[in-house]
Amino acid sequence: MLTVKNLYASVEGKEILRGINLQVNPGEVHAIMGPNGSGKSTLSAVIAGNEDYLVEKGEITLNGEDLSEDDAEQRAHKGVFLSFQYPVEIPGVTVTNFIKTAINASRKAKGLEDMPAKDMLKNIREKAALLEIDSKFLSRSLNEGFSGGEKKRNEIFQMAMLEPKLAILDETDSGLDIDALKIVAHGVNKLKSKDNAVIIITHYQRLLDHIVPDFVHVLHNGRIVKSGTKELAHELEAKGYDWIKQLAD
């Protein structure tokens, strides 16, 4: 599904990613862990097509298709989804209208008509129920005045609606209490299938207790310095990141 080869990327002249290699296959869940400043969020932003980051070399392909020339919206149309660590507030645009706009933009890009209102409504109801989202919530302005937990739940709601092939969850667990964490994890688990893949970017182990990864990668100084299975996450939780840093240096 996703292949990242020897990826170097910088922001404002500062090199952040220094040769990332990553292979994510359909049906897999990958966790990318690492200390602050290791490049985790940069990697997710670069895959999703944030123009603030400059890809110096290397390649990113999705199902064999090179993404390097694609804008963020084109990547979204091809099935990439990024759940933001800090979702943006949009006053005056309701959750419902926003998701309608996003879905129909993707459909338009694929040469399809707008989704019929009835189907849209049914879809919204089902996905809202999955994430235990109240219908009143859907008519509020997007992320405006939302609690941290509401914002993250809303991100996963959008993911559920957009049905991406590759979902990247950037620090989705931050700002969540345990109940919200369980709801979000349950939603992600329900949406998992043999045809899609999930990358979880996180600092901590706790989300991985609920969404169990097939592979865990540790990022340090812009490189993946260690890969393993879910046990690696436990090891990191127990020992901290210092031993990884030493290992890398």
Binding site: E51, E73, I90, T96, T101, S106
Partner: protein, 438 residues
Amino acid sequence: MDLKEKLISSFMAFEEQLDLSSPIHEMRTSSLKQFEKLGFPTKKHEAWKYTSLAKLLKNDYSIFPKKETVIELKDVKKYFLYDIDTYKIVFIDGIYSPFLSDTTHDGIDVCLMSSALSKDKYKATIDKHFNTIANQNDSLTALNTSFTKEGAYIHIFKSVVAEKPIQIIHFSTSDQGPMLLQPRNLIVVEENAQVQIFERHQSLNQHQVLTNSVTEIFASENALVDYYKVQNDLDDASIIDNTYVAQKAKSHVSVHTFSFGGQLIRNNLNFFQKGEYIDSTMKGITIIGEKQHVDHYTLVEHAQPNCESHQDYKGIYADKSVGVFNGKIYVNQIAQKTNAFQKNNNILLDDTATINTKPQLEIFADDVKCSHGCTIGQLDKDAMFYLRSRGIPKKEAKGLLTYAFANNVLESVKIPAIKSRINKLIANKLGVSIGHDL
């Protein structure tokens, strides 16, 4: 002959066709002298530093409409608030259109300035109010006064709540070449009375039209006035709107100005607070592009204690458009416990667009809360990436964020039909689809 000379030499002919014994005859004459002395404002005047009328004044405007033009309702319906019941005062090229209007004398007076100026029953109200708060030292106001003939006259009597909003609509047609229009409105709202007014100026064909309008609004004790101005005219239409509001104790007056189209727009909006516990609200959304020019020049005079004023102007400028905001807040020495707030936030969508923004605070009382803030920025990059990462293309993402930026100004619009109309105009202007259930 330049426009000033033309106006001065036309004045005699203008007066002769009116009643020379009219109570405002002397006012007209002295105002003309004032205009003759002051002339049109130029960029040398501090208040006109960023807005030049020079180009507009080169047009050979006709000063009086030559003939009446007939318009079919079906052709202009879309410019009205048509989905709610309203009173209407409609003018075509400055001439009253009884066919398109719906006036009343039933409990309130919604009628014409020309009849108010000529009939005895209105004399007391005219004598008491007409031209009493309009700035005599403002040349454009003086010019309007000297040629005062027609406009809207609205009188809401004590404790009456006008049950329908009132629309004041001015159409202009291309039949008569460049045209100067000078409507004059008087709005008197007595104690405990309430009214909502919607004003629009609309050219029906591309032609040079310059409107120099003066409106005086009087809100008595505990009165409530909500005034909405839509400025979404064609590219060759310009307007100078001079609005003066006098408020007595405990009255609330709001003026919302939505400026989306036209060649040059200048809004001189003046609030005079003459009692305690008054609330004055001035809000605006400006969205322009190409070479359009919008200038908001506001003044609030806090003369008595315990009053509030709220200003919130949002501006969005594309291409080579120019925006100006100058907001003056004056707090008299005795006006303690004044709360005066002013915000002017702007987004420049292109490097070629310009905004000049200037708060002016003159505070002579010591126990007051006054705040002002102006910002100039571009659309937030993180927000753009957020929208685009959800599959929303760049252009639509820009539109949505711009819409979101301007949106909170609409919160204080009380008439749902106006709110949804403005929403549609904004969405249209920004090229976004924001759904019907907003």
